[in-house]
């Protein structure tokens, strides 16, 4: 075959692959928007589910997801930022410790989310929670069962690598000269980190936090048995209460509901809310990250 023809065909095939992937992405978006938009209104967002979940809104699921991701971020971000500072500022590239930490972070990033759920169940609920009950409540069951706190902590472990990677990337874009200037002026290493490195990586910390929140809002497997509830008639009042979450709501409604067809509009609308949420968060994070990378160049 003629070389030019072959070139065109092969380049065409690769181009078609790109188009196919984009087509799939667009169809997921389109189906969710077309199916969910008609039912998306203020009442849907602000009401409790009614009539055996076939009517009403998803207010408790939105609140549950929001509170859970906030606790998650509060737990994950400080640890993530400090680990990133260690990796970027203190550890030498060759040191065994730094390599081990890096490998551990990568492992955390690839461990299946369901394993975090198991870990949350075995460690937070079965070990820490049970022991807390024995010590604090005289054996009365309070913390030794699925609840919001343990679900948030489980999710925090899952999103830790997201924060670490984003923050480290941002720290590394801070020019060496700025650190050297600070050190030359007599600042100590910690002072330099506090007043040069950290302020310079605020956008990276923000990116990491947003990405983590987006990931945490969308994941369902880790909270399946660490705190998510099918239906609650009240909002959670304390950290030891169970909570409803958007992702879990979609899963339950679409697979376990006794009348799938009747709840179809709710399912689509809930999916749209979740998708819009993660989508907009990701869009913000991508824009921020783009700015950071530009600075690096």
């Amino acid at each position: 075959m003629d070389r030019n023809v072959k070139d065109t065909i092969v380049e065409g095939i690769t181009g078609v692959s790109v188009l196919l992937i984009i087509f799939i992405i667009v169809s997921i978006l389109a189906v969710t928007i077309v199916g969910g938009w008609p039912n998306l209104n203020w009442t849907f967002l602000s009401e409790f589910p009614k009539d055996g979940m076939t009517k009403g809104g998803i207010f408790p699921a939105i609140v549950g997801t929001a509170v859970m991701t906030i606790i998650m971020a509060v737990a994950a971000v400080p640890f993530g930022v400090i680990t990133a500072i260690y990796l970027a500022e203190y550890a030498s590239e060759k040191s065994v410790i730094a390599k081990t930490i890096r490998f551990a972070v990568k492992t955390l990033a690839v461990v299946p989310s369901i394993i975090f759920g198991l870990f949350g169940l075995g460690f937070f609920i079965g070990f820490i929670g049970k022991n807390m009950d024995a010590l604090l409540n005289g054996g009365e069951l309070k913390w030794g069962q699925p609840n919001m706190l343990w679900a948030s902590f489980t999710m925090a472990l899952l999103t830790l690598p997201v924060v670490i990677v984003s923050v480290e990337e941002a720290i590394r874009t801070i020019p060496r000269e700025m650190r050297e200037a600070s050190l030359a002026l007599g600042a100590t290493k910690w002072q330099t980190i506090k007043s040069v490195v950290l302020p310079g990586s605020v956008s990276g910390i923000l990116t990491g936090t947003i990405l983590a929140v987006s990931r945490g809002a969308g994941e369902v497997a880790p909270i399946l048995f660490t705190g998510a509830a099918y239906f609650l008639s009240d909002l959670p009042k304390s950290l030891s209460d169970q909570f409803m979450s958007l992702g879990y709501h979609i899963y339950i409604m679409s697979t376990q509901s006794s009348n799938v067809d009747a709840t179809l509009p709710i399912q689509f609308a809930t999916t749209l809310v979740l998708l819009l949420l993660t989508f907009s968060l990701n869009a913000v994070a991508v824009t921020l990250r783009f700015k950071i990378r530009k600075r690096a160049k």
Binding site: N4, K6, D7, V10, E11, T14, G15, S17, V18, I21, I22, I24, I25, S27, I28, V31, T32, G35, F79, I82, T83, Y90, A91, I101, A104, V105, K106, T107, L108, V110, V111, P112, I114, I115, G117, L118, L121, G122, G126, F127, T188, W190, Q191, A217, G218, E219, V220, A221, L224, F225, I250, T255, Q267, T271, L274, L275, T278, F279, N282, V286
Partner: protein
Amino acid sequence: MELIRLKSKEQDAEMDIVTFNKKKFRFSDWFAEKVIKAVAFLSIAVVVLIFVFVFREAFPIFKMDKKEVVATEVLVQESYGGAETESGSVKVADNQVANSNIIHGQEEKPSSTLLSNTWMPVSDNPRYGMWPLFLGTLKVTLIALLFAAPLSILAAIYTSMFAKPRIREIIKPVIELLAGFPSVVIGFFALMVMATVFQDIFGYASRLNGFVGGIAMGLAAIPIIYTLTEDALTAVPKTFTEASLGLGASRRQTAFYVVLPAAVPGIFAAVVLGIGRIFGETMIALMATGNAAMISMNPFDSVRTLSATIGAEMAEVVFGDTHYNVLFLIGSLLFIFTFALNALAEFYFKNMVIRRYQSKK
């Protein structure tokens, strides 16, 4: 570092040269470093704790003694939950189930059923045969990989080799958007749309099956394989491309005979991490594969994967029960497998990449 200190008393007056190495001990600095170091160790600690706690809950399955075994003189027909059991008569409705019961007799340890062919944890005589789950996972992973790997690699080749810079700037973030889709959303899409569309096209019997699940899980793996492959292709030194083009090769020839071979280890790493993602995917498997644990090679049969089994059954088991332990055992296997895949991608393939470029320099 601090010149002021030269004036201080403890400084040796005879020494005229400035001592740059001697630092004053500062508590805040020392403390900050210690705290930062300690916190950084948390990642390692978490990985170790996951190991310990997932295995700890799985361990009892191996030392279960015989008195916990459901030993019945009469052959009990398998049944789920509250369904009535007929003793005596061997109804071979659930064929393999009844057979294995006869063969093993009554003195059966729960752990000895692990390698049998039946996964039937909630019944009067629970059976924890993991083969159907292994087979199901393997089948779905294979389908997902056959779909996702070629598609993402070709797309990555287009993005890094053929696309104009302006188009590349659009394609990359758009495909990476897919990584931001929660898996429950992809699962929902598979359940509502893909299942119906595929059934219309192929006309198979069960609406949810390994094929639909596999394709949907492939969607989750696409951004991973795509991004890492693209990185691997871009990391190939520009001199390779320039030399090839300079010798008169076309861009297609350069891409497939020069850049692609040079990036093979990186692409392998990408695929391996993609496998890890598919293997551990829970929500899509729960929603789109049909969740029937059976032994069959037909891709259009319903399957149940390892991770979906944990997700579906863990909420209903009794704390510390055999079933509970078996689910943790499955979790341990998943963890070991993804850990090994990650280590393989990280150490073996990365080293190959480094060696490759060094030997060609």
